[in-house]
Structures are given as structure tokens and as C-alpha cells.
Symmetry: D2
């Protein structure tokens, strides 16, 4: 899995701070642009603490993601307040095997071998179908959920907070949780105030959305 942050709204913490000030002030946006960094940061910290997150919608983040499974992307694109561009299995011939192996399978040598053997059988069949002039869009019916995909995602900071709440949770599946954690590391550097307390609900709001008392992160 490779995750890069390839686009960020310039000054991703200034715009939200200005937005917050704008709502409660006589000042025009033109005036507010001249606010000191300190003032802007104080305001932003305050609204984040209050949970008034509508203002952080003004900052957007674009990620380039490669080497993730179609299991992951099928979950990812369920987040509707976001924009996506994904490698198409209709238009791209994927004749070279490329697949994700779940860690629990990877660590058991025999099981891993059997898994890889199945992948080999699958791709042989995929390539056979391609060779018989079946269009890629039909050949792909044999391809597994494990198949690697590339995807670009743009989300605003408010949608990201929701994404992290759900997907950094230990209840989330390992692969999308890994992605979410990598994304969180990347945006924290760009917008430390906004994402200071980002993460699973237990860390951010102090309660477990899964009501799972057996979870090691369950709040005491």
C-alpha cells in the first residue's frame, strides 16, 4: 500500500479560522485575511474544541493510493462526501497478477502458498479469457477482491474526521484501518490543530461506538 498526499488547500488552517470568525463578526473576509496567525490558531482551536466542524469543510485533501485491494476500495467509496477516481477493470487489462495478502494468511507459510496458488489459477483463467477475445470487463468477473487497485480520493477535513472516527477504530477491517492511519499521519502534518484529536471515537469523544467492552481501547 502506497499513500501520498498530492493536494492540499493552501493554508488549510487559515481558511477554517477565517470562516469561524466571519460568522460572528462585522469584519469582511478581506479584513479577516489580515488576522495574525496566533489569533487564527486560537479561534480554530476553540471551535474544534466546541466541535463546530462545519468551518473545516473549506479545507480539502487529495490522496493518491495504490496497491490496495478492491475489498478496501468497495468500502472506501461508500463514504459519499468525497470525490473518487479509480482504476477501471473495464478499460485496463490486468494480465499481470497483483494482489493483496491478508497478514493472517501471510504469516502461515503453507496457507500463504495455497493462497498464492489460487491467485495463480485465477489469473491464468483471466488471461485465457482475454486471449479468447472476451472483453476485459467480463474477464474481470474471475478476479478476486484481493486484486490491487489504484484510487485517488479528495475529502474535506470534516468528512475526513468522520472517516477517521469509523476507520481508525479497531472494529474496522485491518486494510482500511491501515489506510486510515496513514492518511491521518499525512494530514496531521498539514493541519495539526484540525486533526489534533482525530481518530477513533473512543479517543476523540471518549465512548465506544461499537459498545464493545472487550476491545482493548474501550474507555475506562
Amino acid at each position: 500500500m502506497n499513500v501520498e498526499l498530492i493536494g492540499v488547500t493552501p493554508h488549510p488552517e487559515k481558511l477554517p479560522a477565517m470562516a469561524a470568525m466571519l460568522t460572528h463578526s462585522k469584519a469582511t473576509p478581506q479584513d479577516l485575511e489580515k488576522s495574525s496567525e496566533k489569533e487564527l490558531n486560537t479561534v480554530l482551536s476553540h471551535v474544534m474544541k466546541l466541535g463546530h466542524t462545519s468551518v473545516i469543510e473549506h479545507s480539502n485533501f487529495t490522496f493518491a493510493i495504490s496497491g490496495v485491494s478492491r475489498s478496501l476500495t468497495h468500502q472506501l467509496v461508500r463514504h459519499r462526501i468525497a470525490s473518487y477516481a479509480q482504476q477501471s477493470q473495464r478499460y485496463v487489462n490486468l494480465e499481470d497478477p497483483c494482489f493483496v495478502i491478508p497478514p493472517k494468511i501471510k504469516k502461515q507459510t503453507e496457507m500463504k502458498k495455497a493462497y498464492e496458488k489460487t491467485m495463480q489459477v485465477i489469473w491464468e483463467q483471466y488471461n485465457k479469457l482475454l486471449a479468447m477475445d472476451i472483453p476485459a470487463e467480463d474477464c474481470r468477473y474471475v478476479l478476486p477482491n484481493a486484486t490491487c487497485s489504484n484510487i485517488m480520493v479528495t475529502m474535506n477535513a470534516r468528512s475526513l474526521l468522520n472517516f477517521f472516527e469509523l476507520r481508525c477504530c479497531l472494529h474496522a477491517q485491518w486494510e482500511i484501518r491501515t489506510l486510515a492511519n496513514k492518511m491521518l499521519q499525512l494530514v496531521k502534518k498539514e493541519a495539526p490543530i484540525i486533526f489534533k484529536h482525530a481518530g477513533p471515537c473512543c479517543k476523540t469523544k471518549g465512548y465506544c461506538i461499537e459498545h464493545n467492552k472487550n476491545c482493548k481501547w474501550y474507555p475506562k
Copy 2:
């Protein structure tokens, strides 16, 4: 593929007609409710002809869909102005093989046999992993795009018009096009004025969004 319409806003053409009248009238919604059916239908036909489709958002349609592939559902859930509930491959053990066969493969006996053989290998591996206590959410990495899924979808009429425009097009993939055509047949019965001219762009707007002059439906 099984598609049923299991939920429809009552009077799905009355509410949009009232909405259209409300915007241009002194009358309250309470007054407008008493309009004759004929009057309501005339107004709705008029706004549909003008393409002022915001009013048809007030009517919603819920479909129960089963026996479709995960290829299809991955495309379907990209439509963001909609609500979904899909059978989870994390929580449901899918030990019995259940998969879609593309028509181009189905009609060639040898190819179909080879396809089915691959499916058998896949499910054997899936069940082997399950038997070795690998959680279903990891076992599913071997499952193919062809795997059957169940999904419920709710869309409003405006979002449906857009769905039909894109997915009833001959450029759309055969499986989602089949679904779109079935959905269109179902909603046409419930809301004949709204969906009178629904379908691919060439039929509804007289031009080809794919600019594909080789398409048999390309407008003369």
C-alpha cells in the same frame, strides 16, 4: 438477478407537482393538496418538459436487489445521492458458491466450464481458509468479483433520472444496464409522467454523451 420495488413515496407524482406549484403561487401547501389530479398532472408534465427536476426529489424509491455481482455493486455505490445497505462479506460466511456468469462466457460451453471450474477452485480455497479459523473478512480476499451480493438502494426520482441516463446507455456494462432497465420498468408504473422520457441521454436529450458515432443508438 432479482429486482423488486419495495418502497415508494405514496402519490409519487402528487408531491412533486405540489412542490412545483408551491414555488410559483401564493397558495399554501394545505391549499395545494386539494388540487385536482388533472391539474397536478398538467403541472408535472410541464416542469418535466422544462427539465426543472428539483421538485421530483420529493419522491423516493427503494429497491431490493439480489443475485448481482460485486462488480455491479462496486459501480452502483459510486452513485452518491442514494442510500445503500449491502450484504457484508465481513459478517456473512459465503461458503456456498454463488456467482454471476457473464453472457459472453455463458454461451460458449467450454469457456463456461472452465469458468465454473475456476469458481470451484476459489470456493474450495475460501472454505479451506474458513476451516483454518481465518476470519471471513480475510477469507473473502479470494472471492471473485462474480460473487453474488444482495443490496438495498433508495434513490429519489432526480437521482434515478441521472442513474438511468448513465446506466441505460449502451456504453454501460451489461450487468448494471440490465439492472437499470429493470429498475426503470418498475418505477415507470409508479410514476409514468416523471419517467416518461427516462433512459439513456440519446433517448432523453437527443445527443450521445459518449460521442460514439458507432453506437447503434447514435442520434441521426
Copy 3:
């Protein structure tokens, strides 16, 4: 203010319960439709308790609202996961004065008189401009926020829960809070399980989103 519920998804608690069952079951939607009411209600109560509210998006509610101010509608239409149709001040001549009086002004006789006098001045000017062939869309620049408006709103149950959380709060403005409370009473009758705990955050989640310790509802 007049608020009516003029459209509801039939069986607004059955569809969400089916949606919840669908995600965790091998059963098709067709099978699930046959579930007993008791079973469906148990499932729905459970998911509502867990806060897994995506399934309640499948139920939609349409309200006809009249006699509310443009102050209110400007706030209302900020809720983006909803559909609206509003009386237009561009196309409708509003020559007869019709306005909302805030309770704090209404209860003080002198103040109320002065308020009504201002409204009279405003409408005289509005009608004078109309008489001089200024188009309604320009005449309306003099009309006050208090001007009565009619609006139709459709929201799904999940969006409504969010609406109630924000607008039933004592921090919300009195007029939109009155509307929210009326809407809540109406939907509770139709979907008692879904809206059992609906209301301001302090009532539903036990904490104050405004962090306002001076509020009489502040959780002890």
C-alpha cells in the same frame, strides 16, 4: 406556523429493519420481507441503540410548512441532505402584508405596535415599487426577514435525527426550534422506534454540544 407531514415512506420502520438484517445475513431481501413485525422491531431497536443509523436513510419524510419567516427558511435550507421547494419571491407578488412577530416583541404592546408600523411602511414601499413596474424580484429587496414563506421539505430519518439534535437544542433560535419540535411530534407517531430518543444532543447523547453550563438542560 402550520406544519403537516404530507408524505412518509410506507412502513418506515420495516425498510430500515430489513436493511439492517440484510447486511448481516445470507437471506435475500425477498426472504427478509417475510420477517415478523416483532423480529423487525427487535432488530431496529438494537441498531438504533448502537447508533448504526445508516439503515434509517431508507425512510423519507415530507413536510409542508407555511407561515414561517424567511429567517427560518434561510437557516433550514442550510441542511444539505434534504430536498426543498420554496415559494419564490421572484415569481410571486406578495402585496398583502404577511409577517412573523417574535414572541419577545409580541408580548410588549408598544413594541408590537411599532413593529407592525414598520411592517406597514415596508409593505407600502413594496407595493409602490410594484406599481411603478419594478419587477417583484427587485421589490422584494425591501421585504423583511419576518416575511411569511411556504416551503416543502423532504429529509430521510438519519438527516432528521441530525436536524433535531441541532434544532431542538435550547441554543437554537426559537422559531426553527418550534418547527423542529413540531416535526419531531409528527414523525414520532409514524416511526416511534427510530425517533424514540430523538431530540437535542443533551437528551440523546447525554452531553451538551454547546458546552453551556448555564443551560437549564445541561446534563448533571
Copy 4:
């Protein structure tokens, strides 16, 4: 009216071009980032011509707007695929008169005087109510649609194209059309390929969405 573009996704035409290439290629986003500017521009021009505008959602634009009426903002916030922060009439005392005058009123001296006189009466009443300790949120009921407001808006390029289509149209109201035209001038400088053909439907698609044959822009 003052409109400034205060935030733009860096390289607002590169990300969409990469997104377009990603969907049809084996290349990872990391590879695609190295594409030449010429190649990226060619791809983007091509997809824009085809109308495949989902890729331009990855570029976002933030505008700071001041000196516009509440008539305008009430229309503006109806565009739901966007983020807003608006000066609150609940929290900000607007004791100094500040209002928009429609051009048709402005150009007739007597009418303008009468209009300004009404505004004076309104603000006197507003300030009287404030002085009697009526909260600003109630005092504002007398304020006119003409009242000046400040608002920040973020929209992605796809949503902007739709906004321009509807609001640059001669059928749109003069004030929001003025805003739309100013916004279009600003974004054209930043993303000339994306917005090359942006504007009202008659200019972009060659037909009139209002079916108004009397319009001077009606396509021949």
C-alpha cells in the same frame, strides 16, 4: 459586491488530468505525477470535451464574498454540493445600515430616495429594538432582504460548472448573476481548460434550459 478567490487547490488542472489518466491506465498515481504538462493538458481538454467532469471534483475553490444581499445568499446556499460560512444575524449586531440597491431602483432618483428612506425607517426600528434589549436574533426580523452579508463559499470545479450554468443564465436574477460572472472570471485564470466553456447552458451546450425564445441569447 466584493468577490475574491482566497483558496485554490494547487495545480487545479493537474489533479483532474491525473485522475482521468488513472482510471484508464496501469500506471500508479506516483507514475502519473511525472507526466509532462503538455500530456496532462491534452488529457484534460479531451475529457472536458467529452463532458466527463467527475475528475474535476478534485479541484476546489474558495471565495470570500462581501457586500451582497440576503436575497442573494438565500439563493446561493441552495447549492448543496458546497460549503458555506455566513455572517450570522443572530450573533452580530448590524446597527449601521448597510444594504444593496437594485440597479432598476438606483437609476431613478425619486425611487431611490424613497427606497433609502424605507431603509432608514427599518434600521431605526432595528436599533430601537436592540436598545430595548431585544436580542439581535429577534431584532433582525425587521431587516430587509437587501441587508448586506458576508459569506465564504467553497465549491469543487464540477459543482461550479453547474452553478455557472444556472446562474450566468440571463434568466437568473441580476445580483447572483453578477456574482457568478465575477466568480467565473476568477476561476478561469486559475483553470483555463476546465472553465474554457463554462457559462450558461446556451453557451456551453447550445440549448436553452428555460426554452425562452425571447431571450437575446437563445441559440439560433
